[in-house]
Assembly symmetry: C2
Homo-oligomer: 152 residues x 2
Amino acid sequence: MEDPVDRRLAAEVARDPRATLSQLSARVGLSSSAVQARLKRLENSGVITGYRAVIDPEAAGKPLSAFIEVTPLDPTQADEVPGLLEHLSAIESCYSIAGEASYMLFVRVAAPRDLETLIQSIRRAVLANTRTTVVLQTFYEHRPMLEAPETD
Amino acid sequence: MEDPVDRRLAAEVARDPRATLSQLSARVGLSSSAVQARLKRLENSGVITGYRAVIDPEAAGKPLSAFIEVTPLDPTQADEVPGLLEHLSAIESCYSIAGEASYMLFVRVAAPRDLETLIQSIRRAVLANTRTTVVLQTFYEHRPMLEAPETD
DNA sequence: ATTGAAATTTTCACGAC
DNA sequence: GTCGTGAAAATTTCAAT
């Protein structure tokens, strides 16, 4: 994505994916059709991988979030961890990391008891040690990756 | 959000926020107007806090991500940390946490050198110790919080 | 990339439950 | 208060340039 118009368009859509083509076309200075074609290109080429509404975790009944570091006891099994955990819907994100632990998970649950249950599920699924860090407060999340364009 | 229709609608919108009212109305079994009214209510009541397009980090020129734990040297300053760091656009999320460190940041940068620069910016802005955990691979991210409705 | 016309969707006022 | 209907306005789509 070297084209500056594509970057601008991606930034606009990242912040406001529900904007109409007309609105986007006004913001990037192209016709609706041109915007439509570029958007489709960005989607098909994998630059835009999806769209999400951001839901308030409390309203969704998941007020408790945490980071869980996972270290498999058997290094042989290490590569399969993400697949083995994928079915646990409380897991929002899964990364492999450099450091003492092998994986970092970000999870959301309803209550402390569900966190315990989740950790047990994880340890059972992958035979691993875990280290959990509970989130006390979320100050900001999901901030857009692309720079905000200047408000001309 | 106790109403099951609202939960269903929120789940649908969370997964596909660009769906038309007509499409949503078909999925939840209400008229477009009813869906429109419920959506507005979900937005105004803070259940839906925003919309995002998910951009491929590599395409956006930010292939390197990391977790940064921040521990202010001066506990007095601790409450102001999120505000003091908010201007750093590389920071995607900021949480206060239970554990040794006070805050957990999730950041995205273009290259190792930018990570170093960012850490310096953070330490200068808040006078804190930092502990950085580099992400080696992202297996999944941003998975929707709300259960997928059954495909009837 | 733009234009313009047809098809679809959104919006909104009104009535029914 | 919530939901459905219908007509006007806005938007999307697509072929032609």
